[in-house]
Symmetry: C2
Subunit: 381 residues, 2 copies
């Protein structure tokens, strides 16, 4: 099976590593000169609006997928006319625009923070009337890892914030004082069969995900699955989708979804029977899905900007290292560590040392000992 | 870390797949035009006696390893003078010669079947006096997958058998009526730290391994580890070593050892916290070893000569597919299936269907429900 991937970063690389044993071949389509996924397949270097190159990709591929959201939806639209694209262009188009995404959540009855569009500074003032303060002003498009966001506490901040974000179409969201950030990963097959991984509890720092911890049997699992399921059905989705939430008390408020494999699911490589990467490939190639049952508990620690001594990391018997083959730059995700354990207690014991090694010692580890009610994770169904 | 691998088959390929996330780069040294591992690294195509090419490999590599035994020991001896070679040449040299191997077992007090050298037909007659009949005549060198072996029941068979094996130096071994075939995989670090995986029960058919099943908490574990440990210490071994046994009653008789990752350990990819491939790399690059704890139970089913419909295989929620990127030929190992399960009972339920798909429906599945005494597997130490 020949798989074309738009984007050549670490997600494409981990897809290829998961797919080679399945007999998949890969074409990595990216405008970047150095794609860390390119050595694992056929490199196609071109801009996303290069229709000749896109046609070549379509002709070569049995199925096309993408590894990040900031691909022009037009490129996918073009490809859709010539090839099978999974997940579809609609899932990408809506995820690219925070306003459309939040409107979709609302339409589907998936709770989210109050929001209003703000296409101008005047709009922003009006939006604040309805949303209230404090609130977060976010560009509708192109934001990731906390970029393109400003928290507003007072009306005086509106004008400079509006300028800071470049006067782009924006959305004002009520600031949520959340208890936890969670994500749920769903995999939906061509047949509509849908399975879920246990939710992940995520800890960000400076807007970048630093730590993601599997939360088996979490009381929020069922609610997260129900919300994700509505989204998947509506989009007639095929592949892995990650839906991120803020938890406030017992309620989950949807933040955003990623129509792709997701950083907070990297622990599934060692921590689950089938990784998110393998399951995405199984889904988009029309195969049956693999078990999402967990192997104990697991956590992903991102390596941001630099790579610590691997000897030190792997001195931990339960640690696994994933380097992406990227050159180090401040703020850049260059790898991750996965820590596996039999229990939350054991994980909690070993996490701080690895977080310090990863330069994330300041990341508060809020991993409790897991006194939760049982819930059906869907993965064992 | 730059790793040179002698041999470019599926073991090299799976080593590379395990090593890329660790930041390893690979050179695949092989005389073959098409090495299935070559796309994952730098291909060096040359004969094993090409000292110019070997020098290039030595200059490029931080450490050199090998993926099969039938490499001239001279090549390793040459490399040893110019580079770090792990495991060492002595482990290879002794494994290449059944007589030296059995003499080593005897020297180390590791029980094995009675044996005698047979360098001539006259020797063979004399050997049979001491070993008894039935017995197996095996060439000392180059045998694998049951090739180069003849079972002898009667003195009349000696001359034709001697001819059949080409009059090569041979060894006569007493035929063992065994209850099970087992293998144990050990990993030994540069520091001498040694850990073990749970033993594997192996079922051969026509001399080729068809099925390998993890046997957690098996009563034979401790005995197998003790024997392997003596071998590892004697060889001052670094890396993964597989030691194969025949079990007769409560006794383990060593059959042979492989100074490398081993086919019967492929289930460690999904079935253990750290695969044999990752642990071999961690060992030879001087890193600490990873946990060998099991994820439930697992089995490897070899795909020999042909690849069944992957849709059918992966319809099983607990099955994983590993294709080697090789063209199909009768008798050739072209891939394997790993089946994972929470219990032996569950494994036993699902194995027959997959064995049939793999064209191995005739392989007797002797997997019981595992009423065994506990033993320390070493992996959790």
């Amino acid at each position: 099976m020949k798989i074309g991937i738009l984007g050549g970063g670490q997600l494409a690389r981990m897809l290829a590593l998961a797919g080679l044993p399945l007999g998949c071949e890969f074409a990595i389509f990216s405008p970047d000169r150095q794609s860390c996924a390119a050595p694992l397949g056929r490199q196609m270097r071109a801009d996303y609006d290069d229709e000749v190159a896109l046609s070549r990709l379509a002709a070569w591929s049995d199925v096309i997928t993408f590894e990040f959201e900031n691909i022009p939806a037009q490129a996918l639209q073009f490809l859709t006319r010539h090839a099978v694209v999974r997940p579809g262009v609609e899932a990408l188009r809506l995820a690219q625009d925070r306003l459309l995404e939040k409107q979709l959540f609302t339409q589907l009855g998936i709770p989210c923070a109050p929001f209003q569009p703000a296409d101008s500074l005047a709009d922003l003032h009006q939006a604040a009337q309805s949303v209230g303060l404090p609130a977060v002003l976010k560009t509708r498009r192109q934001g990731y890892d906390g970029r393109g966001q400003v928290v507003l506490h007072h009306i005086d901040e509106f004008a400079p914030a509006w300028q800071l974000l470049g006067g782009q179409p924006a959305i004002l969201e009520g600031l949520v004082a959340f208890d936890r950030e969670l994500s749920v990963f769903a995999v939906r097959a061509v047949t509509g069969e849908t399975i879920f991984y246990s939710i992940s509890e995520n800890i960000h720092h400076d807007g970048i995900l630093r730590l993601a911890v599997s939360r088996p049997d979490d009381p929020a699992q069922k609610q997260a699955e129900q919300h994700a399921d509505r989204l998947l059905k509506h989009l007639d989705y095929v592949g892995v989708l990650a839906l991120e939430f803020f938890q406030v008390g017992d309620q989950l408020l949807a933040n955003e979804y990623a129509p792709r494999v997701h950083n907070s699911g990297h622990w599934t490589i060692e921590g689950a029977a089938t990784s998110q990467f393998e399951n995405h490939l199984r889904a988009i190639t029309g195969l049956s899905l693999g078990s999402t049952a967990l192997n104990g508990v697991a956590a992903t620690i991102n390596l941001i900007g630099s790579i610590p001594d691997n000897t030190e990391i792997l001195r931990n018997y339960n640690a696994h290292l994933h380097l992406y083959g990227k050159t180090c730059k401040p703020g850049r995700k260059v790898g991750h560590i996965t820590l596996c354990a039999d229990s939350m207690q054991q994980l909690q014991l070993q996490l701080p040392g690895l977080l310090r090694l990863a330069g994330a010692g300041d990341v508060c580890v809020k991993v409790d000992s897991g006194h939760h009610k049982k819930s059906n994770t869907g993965g064992d169904a």
